[in-house]
């Protein structure tokens, strides 16, 4: 059967792509951020997951607000990036995992999550930046990726309790897949940040650190927040916490924190990198 071997939280902001494209990793501004990554890369290279389920939000590349899926899942064998409008380099295609994707889609709809199912889906920096962070130089062609896209742009958007439940349902779906596959789950997004309005620039370090703690030990406590709560406490785009919560929903039993690096600011955001392992299901 397929097994989830662990989960990772990471930022996905476009400024990271620019920093990597321009070789700025060791500059004083970026070093404290990038220094967090080697242990996570080592873990990935040692554990060699076959598949990454990646929670992210589209920022206006594939989806526009003419039709905005609440939850969308990719079921393709390949995904492409494209011009996003402001000049981060377009990256090579990302490999998909159609069979497991369809299995998850079937299982989710059965489970009450009426997904938008995508056989073609342009993937933006929300998905590509984390992959390049984990396998620099765009060396992730060997890993199969299943994109799960959550609306974090337009209210109404799914509430934390719902995204947590989505993660739990995906966890069950993976476990019920017959093929022996090792799956890692990425929850990507800025932590506290607000890009728009006179309140632009707020970062709530204390709240971010509390969220990282709770993501390890008591994720259900985070589901008490509404998206408006998150906007108020962590900034208008603080709702991206939903992707981290969804990732955590996929994990079961005792969850162990193997690594953490919180750093703020990068660009306008708080960044929380965390590597988690959980109790593996009985065979």
């Amino acid at each position: 059967m397929a097994n989830i071997i662990g989960g990772i939280t990471t930022s996905h902001i476009p400024a990271i792509a620019n920093a990597m494209a321009n070789g700025l990793e060791d500059t004083p501004y970026w070093k404290p951020f990038f220094d967090g990554y080697p242990p996570v890369r080592d873990w990935l290279n040692e554990k060699k997951p076959d598949v990454i389920i990646l929670f992210y939000n589209d920022h206006g590349l594939e989806f526009f607000i003419d039709k905005k899926p609440t939850f969308a899942i990719g079921v393709a064998d390949e995904y492409h990036n494209a011009d996003e409008g402001w000049g981060i380099p377009t990256i090579p295609p990302v490999t998909g995992e159609s069979d497991l994707s369809w299995h998850i889609a079937n299982s989710l709809v059965e489970d009450g999550f009426d997904m938008t199912i995508c056989q073609e889906m342009k993937v933006d920096h929300g998905l590509t930046v984390p992959l390049n962070l984990m396998w620099p130089g765009h060396n992730y062609g060997h890993v199969k990726v299943i994109p799960v896209c959550i609306n974090c742009e337009q209210h109404p958007m799914p509430q934390p309790k719902r995204t947590f439940a989505l993660g739990q349902a995906i966890g069950r779906a993976v476990q019920s897949f017959d093929d022996d596959l090792k799956v890692a789950v990425f929850g990507t997004g800025g932590m506290s940040h607000q890009l728009d309005g006179e309140r632009a620039g707020i970062i709530n370090r204390e709240f971010d650190l509390m969220c990282l703690d709770k993501l390890v030990s008591d994720p259900e406590d985070l589901t008490k927040y509404s998206n408006f709560d998150l906007a108020e406490i962590a900034g208008a785009q603080g709702v991206e916490l939903n992707m981290l919560i969804a990732m955590r929903g996929c994990l079961i039993g005792d969850v162990k924190e193997l690594h953490r690096n919180y750093h703020a600011p990068i660009s306008n955001t708080g960044s929380g990198l965390m590597l988690l392992e959980h109790t593996m299901p009985e065979k």
Partner: protein, 115 residues
């Protein structure tokens, strides 16, 4: 999890079928545009190539074999656009699939509607 059921004479568009049928359905979806319909009529083979249809799909298209299109992953909503391009009605398509004439198929529909 509910298992896919086998209903005789019925081809469900599920995950594997949707994956298989994607090029065929994408091509038929393009027939929403008059320019695409004209391009297809001018050179069918080139149009199949443009959408990378599988050999089975090309063969079904060439033979106008609706059942074979369904077996190759076609979704009836898009195949209907191809039927429209050929000037066929839904009853014509019904006839083609059931081996009836269009008139027989229409009579079959009427009979089922009777109390």
């Amino acid at each position: 999890m509910s298992q896919t059921v086998n209903i005789p004479g019925t081809i469900m568009l599920d995950g594997p079928m949707a994956t298989k049928g994607y090029p065929l359905n994408k091509m038929c979806y393009s027939f929403n545009n008059a320019a695409a319909r004209n391009e297809f009529k001018e050179d069918e083979e080139a149009y199949y190539e443009k959408f990378k249809l599988t050999e089975d799909q090309r063969d079904a298209m060439r033979k106008r074999d609706v059942i074979a299109m369904l077996e190759a992953g076609g979704s009836i909503y898009y195949l209907a656009k191809f039927a429209g391009l050929l000037g066929l009605s839904v009853q014509d398509v019904g006839g083609l699939q059931t081996g009836m004439s269009t008139e027989e198929f229409k009579a079959f529909l009427v009979k089922q509607g009777e109390v």
